[in-house]
């Protein structure tokens, strides 16, 4: 009986990290030093945002988590493309964004 209980506990301990990853991303101690550094820097930037913007980002985070993995991947790819724009392309994108936004209902 004790053996069975022990086995069950070990199995649970092995399953927990995978479950954590599935439910809400990796916990802090599983990030690489570079990822921890990036998260820390972004945390500091987040602290400097106005409270209204912080709340908006939290809501977006909830929405982002609810997205299917392929949609999350699409956003990451689009962010990479956005980051890769050169200054001229970026200015054009900003203009297009303004135009696109003003044309929305």
């Amino acid at each position: 009986m004790r053996l069975a209980l022990g086995i069950a506990l070990v199995a649970l301990a092995l399953a927990l990290p995978a479950a954590a990853q599935q439910w809400g991303g990796r916990p802090w101690h599983q990030l690489t030093p570079e990822e921890q550094q990036r998260a820390w820097q972004n945390y500091q930037r987040y602290q400097q945002l106005p409270e209204q913007r912080q709340r908006m980002i939290e809501r977006r985070y909830q929405q982002f988590q609810a997205l299917p993995p392929q949609e999350q991947q699409r956003l990451r790819q689009n962010y990479d493309a956005y980051r890769g724009l050169d200054p001229g392309q970026r200015r054009e994108f900003v203009e297009k964004y303004r135009r696109w936004k003003s044309g929305r209902p």
Binding site: G24, R26, W28, Q37, Y43, P87, R91
Partner: protein, 208 residues
């Protein structure tokens, strides 16, 4: 670093996405390149102006909750189906043997190294952050620091603040979350045409 490369890195620099080495290389280049310094200042102004644009209209609470509920239900059903399949196909004896093997292996490793792994600093961080918990967490008072000083604080503390430990994913993805609307509609925005893209000097076709 040359000007072309420096300019490629500017959005990432403004978003704080450059690693320390790349940031150092960029700073060294900027120290000796006036046009790139101006370009970086312009990039910062552009992105700040973009940030200042009104955010997307908030979805009504009812619609948001209904949508989220549907997504969660669909995910739960899919998970349940996967579990059922898993339970059908994995015989219990095989599972028990595998678990015992892992246990023996773990005991062997611990015996060989002679010491247990050190406890993690944030082992008790909750798995799934919620908006409420994030809202309850007390953030440090916002303090604006000069850029150079802020850049020095790049090393994360040994024990992260509760808010960061609870949702490291949020902060990892902060630039994406900040630009989410733009990224969701990236393709549509890219295909938007500007007025000056139409050939200039052409007369409007007369209607009469």
């Amino acid at each position: 670093m040359r000007c072309g490369r420096a300019q490629k890195h500017m959005t990432a620099a403004v978003d704080g996405e450059l690693g320390p080495r790349q940031r150092g290389a960029l700073d060294r280049h900027l120290a000796g390149c006036d046009p790139c310094r101006r370009e970086l200042a312009a990039t910062e102004r552009t992105l700040r102006a973009l940030d200042a644009l009104p955010m997307e209209r908030a979805v009504s609470d009812g619609l948001e909750q209904t949508t989220l509920r549907r997504v969660r239900l669909a995910a739960a059903e899919e998970e349940e189906r996967a579990h059922r399949r898993w339970r059908l196909w994995l015989p219990i004896p095989a599972f028990a043997v595998a678990t015992v093997a892992v246990l023996v292996l773990a005991v062997g490793i611990l015996t060989r190294t002679g010491e247990a792994p050190a406890p993690r600093a944030v082992a008790s961080a909750p798995l799934k952050p919620s908006a409420e918990r994030l809202a309850r967490a007390q953030p440090a008072p916002p303090t604006r620091r000069p850029r150079a000083e802020a850049r020095q604080a790049v090393e994360p503390p040994a024990e992260p603040p509760a808010e960061l430990a609870a949702a490291p994913d949020l902060f990892m993805n902060l630039p994406i979350l900040k630009n989410m609307e733009r990224l969701e509609h990236f393709e549509a925005i890219q295909t938007t045409t500007l007025d000056d893209e139409t050939p200039s000097g052409q007369a409007e076709p007369s209607s009469g």
